[in-house]
Symmetry: C2
Subunit: 198 residues, 2 copies
DNA sequence: ACCTGAACACCGTTCAAGT
DNA sequence: ACCTGAACACCGTTCAAGT
């Protein structure tokens, strides 16, 4: 059972460098987003640039190490919501809310997530895909109740919620309306209305 | 009446260089998106890098020269739709469709549009703002009929449609579902449904 | 094994020097 | 007036050289 925080393979300064890199990356990504300068990460970690590449051959490898925990949490949240007693469309809304909050943890994250889904070789691919699938199960449960339109799938849903996460990052005035825009999209997921607004 | 295609101020090779730059920029932006390398543009135009900066001090100045015509067309389309005999919400849907098609003309365009709205000094600011305002008038007309929810404004609408344009650029599989996602958002704009999907 | 930093091929932006 | 390209300060990525 690897716990993810230590890699007991070969040790020494390597283990310490890895942790320094992750600490630095956490800071830099929080400040600059997923497109942050890798040189900056190495610099802030007090480590040679080659060392960063040795530990994380790819930007996505680094992001994966930073983000997998959150992704897994979101996936299990979806499964937990699936089992609770709330109406399915409320569970779905709750999950989407949690996701959009997490998506704005780092600028550029929605773009990274979408790119990762299209690249099976990305280190982020697997966890991102399983997160989307967990959301898909929630969606299907809500569709079974007949209160969510049947002509959307998990891909549509994930696309929409990432689009929302993206737009929310483009301007503070829009970030302030995140909840509002989310309910609007949720209403769209519910299907055509009566035609009477409000 | 400046027609935008010629700048009769001082001429000579300057005028020709300007046109070469625009031609090159059209190509490069079409291929690489709004974040295309400016060096590449100068190179393809067969012009020194400094010449590009002299004609277009800013990336947005260059984009403005490329895109203003389309923006203006979209703005007048909105006004034309406002005056036709179609139901207001159909006019709104038609405009949103036209916008999203135009928005996928160049990768990165939705991001440029959103950035531009927040920066009054951007060369794109004015035309982008007036486009949003034209859309806002369409929106209000549709709201007056009572078939579009009253608690959205032009900023929300523009944000949503740009979010759609962005997500559409992230994966071909999603681009294929653009119409579908647009109707979904339109349904959201119509307000809460009956609760019965479909 | 692991670390380091120079090296390479790119950027955007500025500006002295030319015509 | 206008054009040019070197110069500067950055990138990402690789890899020879060190321990």
């Amino acid at each position: 059972m690897a716990d993810g925080t230590t890699t007991p393979g070969q040790r020494a300064d390597a283990q310490r460098n890895r942790e320094r890199l992750l600490d630095a990356a956490r800071q830099v990504v929080a400040e600059e987003g997923t497109q942050a300068s890798l040189r900056d990460v190495a610099r802030r970690a007090g480590v040679g640039l080659g060392t960063l590449y040795r530990h994380f051959p790819t930007r996505d490898d680094l992001l994966e190490a930073l983000l997998r925990v959150r992704f897994d949490e979101l996936a299990s949240l979806a499964d937990a919501l699936l089992d609770d007693d709330d109406p399915a469309e409320r569970s779905l809304a709750a999950w989407l809310g949690a996701f959009t909050v997490g998506a704005s943890a780092a600028r550029g994250l929605p773009a990274s997530l979408m790119a990762t889904l299209g690249d099976p070789d990305s280190a982020l691919h697997a966890s991102c895909l399983s997160m989307r699938e967990a959301a898909g199960r929630l969606l299907r449960a809500a569709q079974d109740t007949g209160r969510i339109r049947p002509d959307v799938d998990g891909t549509d849903l994930f696309a929409l919620v990432n689009a929302l996460g993206w737009i929310t990052d483009q301007a503070p005035s829009i970030a302030a309306r995140r909840e509002h825009l989310l309910t609007l999209v949720m209403d769209g997921l519910a299907g055509p209305g009566t035609g009477q607004a409000r």
